[in-house]
Symmetry: C2
Subunit: 274 residues, 2 copies
């Protein structure tokens, strides 16, 4: 099976490599020459059974879409694994008969290990066709609904993750300023109903103020924009999501865009700095 | 060893029973006659090596404190396992030389199973003396700092738990209103970085709108009052904690005080109801 893979960045490059290891014939394209095996989108798409995009945001996906439509065969299966607005995914599905939105979570490490979680929106028959391909890059692969549903679930995921960082940050500051060792306190929290994957993975680095990425504030800021837009589109007011979005925007405004998203702690600190 | 146990409610009764099973001589007192083995605080305290209180809030603790001071021996170890304001715990420690604040998490089930998490504030020597007693009722027992520190960690725990319910509630509504099956979506979230003990234990009941307690909104409302007061006392502005506090207060105002704290979902729903 021939796969055209567009977007060989931090996530895309190891995903394309895992597809190659699984025996697929992969033609990889990126704007930057290093690592790519073909020189144009047209070349990646022409004759492909499946085209995958793994791009930063909606504009980049919309930029390559016309060539995918033009050079793709009638039976082309298009899997967009970028995290973009659900509305954009719906628009894509109107232009291509076999399109899936399949954003991922699990980060660079998940991409390298082929252990990503993948949230898939689209038609059941297309999902079944995509499954052998997705199994080469992910471990938890769930068909969550029609076109756009994958992006909606990803947006829900990001609002919960961003909010959890904010809550843990506030808990750390409350303990520190009250004279309590936050490391000991968070050990207790991690073992009870307050426990979370964020506490499990990040409590030590947050207490130590180690904000090496990881997943960058810039990207989480983009994702909160998607969550906010998705809520507006659905006609929903989500107060915690709104506040988390503002706090992450503040992190970016304060120059922390390239730090890990756990650097949300710095915003809560700055609110309280003399 | 003789233990006076004051407060034989949903939590206190099974805790006192576990102390009895562990071989301690327990004299249990409650305002309500049923289940108590002595008829007054004075009788529970006189001659006791250890006095434990497990009461609803600060006023109840302050009400029994004078009798504990009056009838307790010089070497009495006083362990307050109620969830109250850290400032109140500090005040108690000024009146009794051997006082620990030791609030718990784990709920009624943890109390029955003797598997509570216990956050202990106070002097190291008093903590060591309390340990055999606490081991009869809890599993994770951590000395987190000086007097009041146990209450501060409990407050931090409750702000994270309350906030997590709010975030999960907003994620559920976003998915539902967008036409995504929330059960499938939450399965993906539970397996990734958005995963939490709240998602693990409560996502099915929240989607099904089953809000049988569990831990009541009324109690979580009290606990958010403690978290807010602790933050004020520490001179801290905590924006997410503030919003979570308001949302839980709204749940109570809307008449959901006796439902499980996951009923915070009803507040997010009502904000968006026509």
């Amino acid at each position: 099976m021939k796969i055209g893979f567009i977007g060989l960045g931090v996530m895309g490059a190891p995903m394309a490599a895992n597809l190659g290891k699984a025996g697929f014939e992969v033609r990889g394209y990126d704007l930057r020459p290093g690592g790519r095996t073909v020189a144009s989108v047209a070349e990646a798409v022409t004759g492909a059974d499946v085209v995958i995009t793994m791009l930063p945001d909606s504009p980049q996906v919309e930029e390559v879409l016309p060539e995918i439509v033009e050079y793709g065969g009638d039976n082309l299966l298009y899997i967009d694994m970028s995290t973009i607005n659900p509305e954009t995914s719906l628009g894509i599905a109107r232009r291509l008969p076999h399109a899936l939105d399949a954003p991922v979570s699990g980060g660079e490490r998940g991409a390298i290990e082929g252990s990503l979680s993948i949230m898939v929106g689209g038609k059941e028959e297309d999902f079944q066709r995509a499954l052998p391909v997705l199994q080469a890059v992910g471990r938890t692969i769930v068909h969550v609904g029609p076109s756009g549903a994958g992006q909606t679930v990803k947006a829900a995921n990001q609002l919960v993750v961003g909010g959890t960082y904010g809550l843990v940050a506030e808990a750390i500051l409350l303990m520190e300023v009250s004279g309590v060792d936050p490391a000991k306190g968070l050990d207790v929290l991690a073992g009870g109903l307050a426990g979370s994957r964020v506490l499990e993975l990040k409590r030590h680095s947050m207490v130590a103020r180690d904000f090496a990425p990881g997943f960058r504030i810039d990207l989480h800021h983009k994702d909160m924009g998607i969550a906010t837009a998705a809520a507006r589109q659905a006609g929903l007011a989500l107060p915690l999501t709104a506040l988390v979005t503002q706090l992450i925007a503040a992190a970016r405004a304060q120059g922390h865009g390239s730090l890990d998203h756990s650097a949300l702690l710095k915003v809560i600190e700055r609110i309280n700095a003399a």
